[in-house]
Symmetry: C2
Subunit: 818 residues, 2 copies
């Protein structure tokens, strides 16, 4: 027992407000309940003290009187006086006994007097103070502890602080923080809790207005906690779109001007991305996501690090996502490949830069799972994540069904003209009997589906139709003119296509699915994530790690380091006979030569080699050996990947396998400089943008086209590092392979759902650690052999889900290290 709090038995007015006007019974009751009872309690308590607290200190005892009765407090004053007399007597008695050695302790009761203030916070304040007294050995000599007339005047607080705002202040006192995306969600909560913890913060975001609201709330909270001049502790900078490089310069300059030095850089801002399957995603949308989520991240790290290094300290937090994966592990995020890659990239940046930015700077990643907040639930202006996903799932399902039926129809000798008839769209206007069976079956199924909106009367809406046409054109099945003709003739379905109830049901299913995968069966809130992260930020000995504040989400994950041991079975590899293979690359000439020779030895029918430069095309043409007389074509295509693949699809009969290797080598820049060195040689944001373009976007461009080719095997190759590679180059190679794997594994899962069932896998030439790499010519030759075997293995036709659901998963989304 640490404390006892005694309250009056009755509220004000129960016995009247004055002894003069009260009747005899009230007087008797008042004296019994409020004057005698406390004495009786004290007596009984004191008698039992020895037995109850044999070897400790006695509990703190606090009497609390009633609040102001607004009638002069006459009766309250009697209670106060009697309790005071009681306390005085008790203290005196204990002291006497203790002096005589009859008692090993002395009780020191106090009295909290509440009735001479009508301050709105008086009750909370008194309760809080009473509780505090029971928890401290602070022995107040005063018997009566009067509440101050004005709590605000005495304490500077207009409201009692919450328990967390008592614990936090001081945790980050004197620190400064820059937070992007600070106007809502996790960013706002991080800013708020860092400020509560004593840091001065600069919140940036696009909307000046939302920032101003956020700031006002935080300032008010700081004022209530008792921070002096709270306005000066929270700065804002609006108009900052992290997708705009100039804005990042402004943010950096503003931060330096406003905060002086920066202790915490919180890279929180980001966009949701395209929210499309890879095959439907535009290049522009992909680039936007890379710029806003990944390149901006590096850019800010690059801007703030020199001063942090020079100042000897700093802490950077990249707000990634559960879907950014973990060390050696990628997580598939269907319909969000661009987002997943950008988030994986943010996480890997923390892993590879930690060594270079350390020991002065810590850099870590935050990987929240689904968080119950603004982003998830949406707002008046924008639907939440679940609603968007719910709709997308329904739309993509319809799109894939139509796409599949058309592909199936094609093999039943279905012509372009038949596709064009579908522009009628309204199902009762379509002549089902005139259509090939797969399409007719689909239309009957859709008619019977009983969709609540117009989705059972119409085949698609304009959005679906337009995506479908784009797929068919890009797959070489329709011409641009035919697409335009279709869309011109297209009869749009009236809104809503999918009824709101239908979409909501889908959204609910998604939410339930996610909750079932969370160990604690609940999603944390923005506030909880912000709070736990602010505690994480107090850890000053960790770098290169990923925090999981809402951990325990069980999604299928894929490891980044699949291993190939023995060469693949020859009879399996022989299935490459007669296949049509596209080989893309420029910088890795000897690897391309060996891979080409590997395919040619397997009697492939046709081999296209697409290089960036004429030189590379010529040198490859001469280097390959073609013992079985395959048809080989080497083309220099500059940057024109898409149209060259389109041409092969449209004019040259298509392909079965595409092997994509980068056109460019890794940059050779430093990743940091020491405190007193120049940062000129350190990878700039422009060079990082180029790296993303050359090593990640490059493969996206190849894969999004090739995934529309039926049963295409897609193999992505990540750059090699040489015997002489620096640890910086090696780090960048790890960045590429680990970030790219988020793409590979996502398209791997999407591939199971696409009508073309493509299979994508990744072959990587960089092992986990530099020491595991080949270290002499013999070992380099062994690595080359393993590379060719790995590419062959990933080029053999993969089982489709209809053949074996079990095997079809296994053959997609792997990252094989050689």
């Amino acid at each position: 027992l640490d404390g006892v709090i005694l309250l009056p038995q009755k509220p004000n007015g129960e016995y009247g407000y004055s002894l003069c006007t009260a009747n005899d019974e009230d007087v008797a009751n008042f004296v019994r309940d409020e004057v005698v009872a406390p004495v009786a309690f004290a007596s009984s308590f004191a008698r039992n003290m020895d037995r109850l607290f044999a070897d400790g200190e006695p509990p703190a005892i606090v009497y609390v009187t009633n609040p102001s009765d607004r009638h002069g407090n006459l009766m309250n004053e009697i209670i106060r006086a009697s309790v005071e007399a009681l306390i005085r007597g008790w203290r005196h008695e204990d002291e006497t006994l203790a002096n005589a050695g009859d008692l090993t302790w002395a009780v020191q009761p106090n009295q909290m007097v509440r009735y001479d203030t009508e301050d709105a916070e008086a009750l909370t304040f008194a309760a809080d103070w009473a509780a505090t007294l029971t928890n401290r050995v602070r022995k107040m000599d005063s018997i009566n502890l009067w509440l101050p007339r004005s709590i605000k005047r005495s304490t500077g607080k207009s409201a009692m602080p919450s328990s967390i705002s008592r614990v936090l202040p001081g945790l980050h006192k004197g620190r400064t923080a820059v937070i992007t995306g600070g106007s809502l969600g996790i960013g706002l909560q991080l800013g708020r809790f860092l400020a509560i913890a004593g840091a001065r913060v600069l919140l940036s975001a696009r909307s000046e207005e939302k920032l101003a609201e956020a700031r006002a709330d935080i300032v008010e909270e700081l004022r209530n906690i008792g921070y002096p001049r709270p306005e000066g502790r929270v700065k804002i900078l609006g108009g900052i779109d992290v997708g705009d490089p100039d804005a990042l310069d402004r943010l950096h300059d503003h931060a330096v001007a406003e905060l002086g030095h920066v202790d915490f850089l919180i890279n929180n801002a980001g966009i949701s991305g395209a929210e499309e399957m890879v095959v439907d995603m535009t290049r522009a949308a992909w680039d936007r996501t890379m710029e806003a989520n990944l390149i901006s991240n590096y850019s800010l790290i690059r801007k703030f690090s020199p001063a942090m290094k020079a100042g000897g300290k700093g802490s950077i937090l990249n707000v990634s996502s559960y879907f950014g994966g973990e060390k050696y592990v990628a997580v598939a995020y269907p319909n969000r490949a661009d987002y997943a890659v950008s988030k994986a990239g943010q996480r890997v940046l923390a892993e590879i830069l930690s060594r270079h930015l350390g020991p002065e700077i810590q850099i870590n990643a935050l990987a929240p799972g689904p968080v119950d907040g603004a982003r998830l639930r949406g707002s008046a202006e924008a639907p939440g994540l679940f609603d968007r996903r719910g709709l997308l799932v329904l739309e993509n399902k319809r799109l894939n069904e139509i796409h599949k039926a058309i592909l199936a129809g094609m093999s039943d000798d279905f012509g372009v003209a038949d596709v064009l008839t579908l522009a009628t769209n309204r199902l009762d206007a379509v002549d089902v009997d005139a259509l090939p069976k797969p399409i007719a079956r689909l239309i009957l199924k859709v008619r019977d589906s009983g969709g609540l909106g117009n989705s059972s009367q119409y085949l698609m809406h304009t959005g679906i139709a337009s995506k479908l046409m784009t797929r068919l054109v890009r797959a070489g099945l329709l011409s641009d003119e035919q697409r335009d003709q279709f869309l011109d003739a297209f009869v749009d379905a009236p809104a809503p296509f999918f009824d709101f109830a239908e979409t909501s049901k889908q959204a609910e299913q998604i939410e339930t699915g996610i909750l079932n995968r969370l160990h604690l069966h609940k999603m944390p809130t923005d506030e909880q994530v912000g709070l736990s992260t602010v505690f994480h930020l107090a850890d000053d000995i960790v770098s290169g790690e990923t925090f999981h504040p809402s951990g325990g989400l069980k999604f299928d994950r894929s490891v980044t380091e699949g291993e190939l041991l023995l060469p693949p079975n020859e009879s399996e590899v022989a299935k490459l006979k007669g296949k049509r293979v596209v080989l893309i690359g420029n910088s890795m000439k000897s690897e391309l030569t060996n891979i080409a020779n590997g395919f040619l030895a397997q009697h492939v029918e046709k081999l296209w080699v697409l290089t960036k430069t004429e030189d590379a095309a010529n040198s490859l043409k001469h280097a390959v050996s073609n013992p079985n007389g395959a048809n080989i074509e080497c083309r220099a295509i500059g940057d024109d990947i898409e149209s060259n693949l389109d041409a092969i699809l449209r004019d040259d009969g298509g392909y079965d396998v595409v092997v994509s290797s980068p056109f460019e080598r890794l940059p050779l820049n430093a990743l940091a400089a020491s405190a007193n060195e120049s940062w000129d040689r350190v990878l700039s944001d422009g060079e990082f943008r180029k790296l993303v373009h050359d090593q990640l976007t490059h493969h996206f461009r190849v894969a999004r086209t090739s995934a529309l080719v039926p049963n295409c095997q897609i193999v992505l190759i990540t750059p090699d590092t040489s015997l002489a590679s620096t640890r910086e180059e090696f780090a960048l190679a790890l960045f590429v392979k680990n970030s790219l794997h988020a793409f590979t594994v996502t398209l791997g899962v999407e591939g199971e759902r696409l009508p073309t069932v493509p299979a994508i896998n990744q072959v990587q030439l960089t092992r986990r650690a530099h020491t595991e790499e080949p270290s002499n010519d013999q070992e380099l030759a062994e690595e080359m052999t393993r590379l060719v075997h790995a590419v062959m293995q990933c080029s053999v036709p993969a089982p489709t889900p209809s053949e074996s659901r079990y095997l079809s998963k296994i053959f997609r989304g792997n990252a094989v290290t050689v």
Copy 2:
């Protein structure tokens, strides 16, 4: 500017102690410096206030006077009075101006009066209070703030709290914690910081004495912070060896009796383990490590969880290690296989139990890297980790060199008699010319090595000799009698064998190597890890995760989910022709049959099938088909694994491949029960011990013997789950495969260093997620085929480090999932 603190210009006595006795010059100086100067400052400051603080509040201004001069404070009293007059005037002036609307603020200076106390803490307290006043808007009406006569009496604090003890209190207020291994290191720091944060803690350990010391320190610290009755906040229980199941019962009972409910269970106690290579590790040492580090962990979770579930909350932290790996990743820890497995097991327990213990209970793991503290640095009684490892590295290097020379000698027709001559040990007494070349070369090399101790005069010391003999006997090369004969004749080297300087140098190299691998280039201390972990424990939304408080250690890691795509190359698998294969197992009969048939189809020369029961031996005998007439022998061996493998080595000419599958199935128990259900069906500690024995120790026993067989391929198989498996059974399968991988990868690395260069790999039948498992008969058949292919692939002779360093690593320590 938040605050201004003004101190007197001169210390006490500078102008004398009384105006009456001071000379004229002293008086003039005193008045100028201590009376006029403050007024001049105030005047100048007030004039510039508008310019300096245009839009904020004015800073807090605090005057501090000198401490007691022990001469009556006559001069101090003049300073006090003049500053008081100044403050009074300043306040009045501001108020008047503010009332007139000429000023938007009022300055409220205070004066800290220090000179009437001689309390030792007075200076610290005054400084702290002055600083606090500048940081708060708490406007004290009193002009003079006198320090209390007795700070302890007024505040309950005998010393000023450190900054951390201001931030922490309240963080875990009202919580209770049980901590094993709480007498030193991380455990002690966790207990300490949890107590500072407001939790009541129970520390347990073996030594009552060390616990009592630890408790006394924490209690003193709590008292200084101001906790009431701090003795009651820290309980201890000595005599708790976590390797003793009875002790765990006592701990549980004691915790319930002392704390009532338990909020935090911190499974921190553990032992370092055998610190030997797997081949030298005894079964007893392995069992001890499993019991103390892993089984005890589960046992305590099992004891404390029911009440936590029933109470609706609880948090469990398993103190694992960086070397326990991460999700899907294992870390090799040579010479520490037992430790690595136990730590991986602790981590995986958190991963698999989180779902079952949630949502009420959070369970997480802590994975510290090397921590600069008691464990690492050692103590008077025991050398630290680096010193132990330094010595072990030198000893093992010598042991492996001799072992290697003997094996090489054997192939030069070197007999047992030659081995026995080595018992002479003293190198100048050995007749080098009479020995086979490899041994002669080693002896000459050792002689020239210039070791500082006796390590260049003697071949080995008794410890090395005894390990060597054990290896040779267990490998079937010597008999027990020959070993005894050798050891009887053995001439021990005088101490020290390795000079202290030599060992220390090795230890330093190890330390430097580790520091180079840390991103922040420094090891955290026990205290830092404890502190950051206490912050982590405030995160109430995370479960199933691993915290890395000292993250960023770059060790080679191995992923748990290697993937096999195509079947292996037939010409490679044909290398199994003529090999001698041992197949161990009992419960997985159809898998064993298929694997046996796979080997028999490859023309192996001899196949032993070792089962536990006669039934299994008989049924396998009848199930296999032997088209090429191999020599097949099926034996029921009960639990007698070692002696049966020994017999094959000694009497039957040895083996090239061993495939180890478990004798027993996974248990089918629940892993938790709901709050109001019985826990009778939940896996007991005894059942967990059996699981560890059947699924982990089993493979250790096979591998430690087989790793002594030259060029042996060792394949470990983890249990399958069936179509009908519960998620509990699936979770246990994940536990087995992920914990076992720590063993496989460690022996994988050790295998590169052993003279026998064994290659160990693991084949696992459980995929990452239940949904990826085969779900019909066709898929089950496909899985079986993949299993056989994976086992074949891992049975083909692996390249040795001398053939290819690059390939030899790749072929060892993998975990292939089928």
